[in-house]
């Protein structure tokens, strides 16, 4: 992870502690502020579940507001401010987020300093949780273990999501990326308050930390609060760059799973190269030409021409260099759909795409990137991803670079892509 400072007119990022960066995107056009604290840790089987429990546990309260009801009551008084936590995977990292979204002070009819109060609340749940006898409360731990298990189990409820999770598990079984970000049920069951206390301590002391403030609010108070809080932590063994790198598939792996479903899900994972931002831009563009828009090859052919599906799209995981293809089909059309998808990829590799297709994909991506500026969530998500991959370009800069990608670069990037795993989730056969 490259962590150099970047200061533009709009965005100020600075180091406020060992391995702790604070980024401010001041934008007066918004009516709300969003403060997020991201703890970035290596994704590992042994620690995934304990880490994923932390956002759930921390949002239970703080010393000052020792239970959910008291804390949420305070948030309601602050005009329905939202304090929440979540866990995500980005490349080979597991990222725990705690965030608070609150109304801008100008719109508080009681004249309260909403942002300062919310910064205090967020800081206190992270650094000064609601403990009993110096550790997490037995009762909270029991509740959140059950909730995390439900979350892990309920991946099955959404078949599209489930198919993608299974594809990643299969395809990357020897890489951190193959680990589900919430861990496994059996690991959650073994967690205790003390183990979680240690996980919390480790997260505070050794995670790489990215803090964001986006919105109209004044950053000084928020920055100082978090700088003070981290100055009291002994920051050691801080997470640094680690990645399993990009692998090349040796052979295509096909997996079929059967469940009682009406529609089959056909998902594929392909590996490409994202060694440098230039490669990434070309591959990104190639993915959009292939299946990233309603005028892409997959949409025009697999859906519109052959009527095989309602959705069939491709997208790139930039951190990992994996191109995903995601579709829902009739099982009897499996061979046809798979064949056509791969044929369209071959067309791309052979350079069989028009200048219009290329230009349209560029405009489509440019539009998507320029829209990042209009939402707090997308601004934060965009920059977090950028900082993790060591690419500090603003959306506009990235869009400009993409507009300059050449046809040869797209063809080269497409030819660097090879199919690794096909996963088909299909209905039960008769008698099953």
């Amino acid at each position: 992870m490259r962590m150099e400072d970047k200061v533009t007119d709009r965005i100020k990022r600075k180091n406020i502690g060992k391995g702790v960066n604070f980024t401010v995107i001041r934008d007066e056009k918004f009516k709300q502020n969003l403060i997020s604290v991201y703890f970035i840790m290596p994704l590992a089987r042994e620690t995934a579940s304990a880490n994923a429990m932390l956002p759930l546990l921390l949002k239970h309260g703080s010393r000052e507001y020792p239970d959910m009801t008291a804390l949420n009551r305070r948030l309601n008084e602050l005009y329905g401010a939202r304090l929440d936590g979540s866990t995500h995977k980005r490349g080979d990292y597991q990222i725990m987020a705690l965030f608070c979204e609150c109304l801008g002070d100008n719109y508080a009819f009681g004249g309260e300093k909403v942002l300062e109060s919310c910064a205090n609340l967020l800081k206190s749940v992270i650094f000064d949780p609601a403990f009993e006898n110096g550790t997490f409360r037995e009762k909270d731990v029991a509740i959140e273990k059950r909730n995390l298990i439900d979350q892990i189990d309920s991946v099955l409820n959404d078949k599209r999501q489930y198919a993608l999770v299974k594809l990643k598990e299969t395809m990357c079984k020897d890489e951190a990326y193959g680990i589900f970000e919430l861990g496994r049920r059996e690991d959650v069951e073994k967690l205790t308050p003390d183990k979680l206390y240690n996980a919390w301590k480790t997260m505070l002391s050794s995670a790489a930390v990215e803090i964001f403030l986006v919105g109209p609010g004044n950053a000084d108070y928020v920055e100082k609060s978090f700088a003070d809080a981290f100055s009291n932590i002994d920051r050691t063994n801080i997470v640094s760059a680690s990645s399993d790198g990009i692998k090349k598939p040796e052979k295509v792996n096909t997996v079929v799973e059967r469940l009682p479903v009406t529609q089959a899900k056909l998902v594929m994972g392909l590996r490409g190269s994202v060694a440098a931002p230039d490669n990434t831009d070309a591959l990104h563009l190639a993915t959009v030409i292939l299946g990233g828009s309603p005028h892409s090859k997959l949409f025009a052919n697999v859906r519109e021409k052959m009527s095989l599906c309602y959705y069939c799209l491709s997208y790139l995981d930039k951190q990992k260099g994996i191109v995903f293809i995601d579709s829902g089909i009739e099982e009897s059309n499996y061979e046809k759909a798979r064949g056509e998808i791969l044929r369209q990829l071959d067309e791309l590799k052979a350079g069989n795409f028009s200048d219009d297709e290329m230009k349209n994909a560029k405009l489509y991506l440019q539009n998507a990137l320029m829209q990042v500026e209009d939402s707090l969530d997308s601004l934060m998500g965009y920059y977090l991803a950028q900082f993790i991959s060591g690419d500090t370009r603003a959306p506009k800069e990235m869009a400009d670079a993409i507009m300059k990608v050449t046809r040869d670069e797209v063809i080269k990037a497409a030819n660097g892509v090879s199919l690794d795993t096909v996963y088909l989730l299909a209905g039960l056969k008769e008698g099953e």
Binding site: D27, K29, K31, L56, D67, M68, T69, N72, L75, N76, E77, L78, Y79, G80, A81, E101, C102, L103, Y107, F109, K139, R146, N147, D150, Q151, S154, L156, N157, D158, K159, R160, L259, P260, V261, T262, Q263, P294, H295, R303, E304, S307, L308, C309, Y310, Y311, G328, I329, E330, D356, N360, L363, Y364, N367, A368, M370, Q371, E373, D374, S375, L376
Partner: protein, 424 residues
Amino acid sequence: MAEFKEIKSDRLNEKILYTRHKSGLDIYIAPKAGYSSQYAIFGTKYGSIDNHFRFEGEDITVPEGIAHYLEHKLFESEDGDAFSRYAKTGASANAYTSFDKTCYLFSSTSRFKESLEILLDFVQHPYFTEQTVKKEQGIIGQEIKMYDDSPDWRVFFNLLGALYHNHPVKIDIAGTVESISRITPELLYKCYGAFYNLSNMLLCVSGDIDPNDVIEVVDRVIKDNEPKKVESIFDPEPDTIVKPRTEQQLSVSVPLFNFGFKDKPALGKEAARKEALTDIVLEVVCGEASPLYRRLYDSGLINANFSKQYFSGRSFASVIFGGESHYPDKVADEIIKETNRLKKEGMNKDDFEAAKRTVYGRLAVTFDSVENIANNIAACRFMDYLPFDVIDEAANAEYNSAQERLNEIFSEERCALSVISPIK
């Protein structure tokens, strides 16, 4: 140039410009300085519930799912589809059909006028043939099957089926594989003629735009129009429910539930008032700061996926609680118990005040998104009010009105529970 009426919210420092074009089209523009994107919706007051109507003296019943089918087909014209036209401007285009409206939209960051022209043009030019209509059956068939596997979708429609006897809100928006097989080009043209009259439609635009640009494109692209009246017909819907409980088994690991109370629909300011008060009441009853939420959460009856919503539209309304639970019947019992208590003892006044702030604050921040603004204007206008009305009702809500609303909604006679459980 057109005269705009300026509708302002001083509280939010926002405004909406309104004008009625000579064609009969209502135009709403929400200027948002500093935003990079523009968002436009061209919508018609025509959704899945409008499958029985009177038009030009004729009483017409059409197959379920036809409004949604029409939305798909409108993207096609004699010389290619609208997506390929948008491709040249870079705009991201889409459309959706809901119970009571169909909206065509795009989001752009440059060449706004060109994209607006495409939007207004393709929606005014239907082109349906036997062959193009037939082609869509495979695509929509897959869309229907995708929803058949979706427990969130099924639990919701099963609830609507338990709450509503006759109202077409209980019918799946996309229809069924069988019903869409009966759709023909003639039927599509008939529905188009009835519901896509400009006097039944609106244009909403939000972003950093010059209102005169919008009018210039409208003047150029919108065709002359003779206003026509279409009237949707709904069979009378009793206050009672169909059945108190419904259950379906699907491939899920954690059971899901929807628990709903049937409410009386409203239009205009009354609908805005009901929405604001209901949101406040729901926050008091089972918001995250409520004793009920705490009890359900601590005892493991619900998890963080628990939700509450006021589900309302043109001619229907209900309150719906939803989530994952291993004991959905107990959750329903607890909600009934708590609402009975609140009816008897009244809400705590401080709880009411905190809930009011919550609802106001959460509504205020929806104005941070050009997408939300345009969609909210469309949704509200088709029910004859504006987004500011709901915010004002929330900010000015009085305890007694909220308590009355609470007493009115929660009746044990008008609730039903829908459950999706794992296949045994």
